[in-house]
Symmetry: C3
Subunit: 161 residues, 3 copies
């Protein structure tokens, strides 16, 4: 078993299956693109074990608590890892995380975007450790997100050449 | 004629002239930056054949329909291609699209950002084909955009060395 | 004294100390990441000379004027330069700016995001000059930002190998 897969198992983390695109919706892009050593990750939402976008839905500062947002951001990280494993074959190929762009569906007056996106940063650091998992980040408030999802995150990282 | 220019002609697509910056506005940045094989594309809006920001203006979910947003996203793609051709000289130099960051001016409750940004993704794929045109993407809802434009898109791609 | 430090001194610009994270907040990410010649800069806000997030707070188009937003964007640029100097040791190592992603806390109807983010672009160009300082840019309207800050900016640049 690969090192990262062992780590995921030790942490009791299970990666979701491919995203089940709702009928009638077309997503003409790749969830991950590998180009040489560069890896681009599309905006991902929180996915459930059934492959669907995971509840709860809604805005932080309105329908959802910071803790619910934090958990949603963890699910986003797992969804990104699942896409990365499908594209890379083996998550051990990941050399370093670079950029995490965290977008939080924010009701007027909600400013705790960092506390929400910490759910993603913490999971990346737990799984990849403080060297490989270190990353730069923005955590900002969006007016709306597809599917009424509370969190969407885009990323960039590198694999070993 | 270059391959991509032939493809644009076959599709009946015409690239707009340089953006006419409204008087009194200063935009102290480059629409495209080429650095080695990397190409950065600034946020572009939908441009008309007169070089001005193209109508209709306003928010999706309020003033504009999804179909109008889709057409606006196509115009954004054409505006990006026009900037790229001015910077690169020849669009055939483009090796691969990497990242499309699609920002949709969204009224409260509007969540069909993917259907809007499909206008850009579809045009890139029509013009560059499924290999070179494949890209990662985010499609998210902004509170406001400059000029009341419905769509703004930023991108990154690579050229042949 | 390094060339860029001399330039900062000649312009009367002083870089702020490390950001004083408010008690109870955890920011588990790096403000700057250097990877080979690539440099990623996390989303920065306007910082005061005391290291704290700088007033005024609030939304453009509501509490704040465009001129206040412009000055805030200048402070963001100084905060990014301070983080870069701490990471790089010497700002002369910077070869070229690539991407500036400017996010403006925007009240409904506010569309002058470019005029606000010009505060950052202008400062970069004053300090680094028209060659090294040239960059691509987006300037867009966010629903909310952490700390009620009016401006947050993320960037990418390159250093000499």
């Amino acid at each position: 078993m690969s090192e990262i897969d062992s780590r995921l198992a030790a942490l009791g983390l299970i990666l979701p299956p491919p995203f089940t695109v709702p009928s009638g919706l077309r997503l003409p892009f790749d969830f991950v693109q590998v180009d040489g050593s560069r890896v681009f990750v599309s905006g991902h939402g929180p996915q459930g074990p059934d492959g669907l976008m995971a509840p709860p839905f809604g805005k932080l500062g309105e329908e959802l608590t910071v803790e619910q947002g934090y958990q949603a951001a963890r699910l986003v990280a797992l969804s990104m890892l699942a896409s990365l494993r499908r594209s890379l074959g083996d998550l051990d190929r990941i050399r370093r995380w670079h950029r995490v762009f965290g977008m939080v569906n924010s009701a007027p007056g909600f400013t705790q975007q960092p506390q929400v996106i910490n759910g993603c940063s913490d999971l990346i650091l737990e799984v990849f450790g403080p060297e490989r998992g270190a990353h730069t980040r923005s955590a900002v408030g969006m007016a709306e997100l597809p599917f009424h999802t509370p969190v969407e995150i885009e990323a960039e990282l590198s694999i070993h050449p």
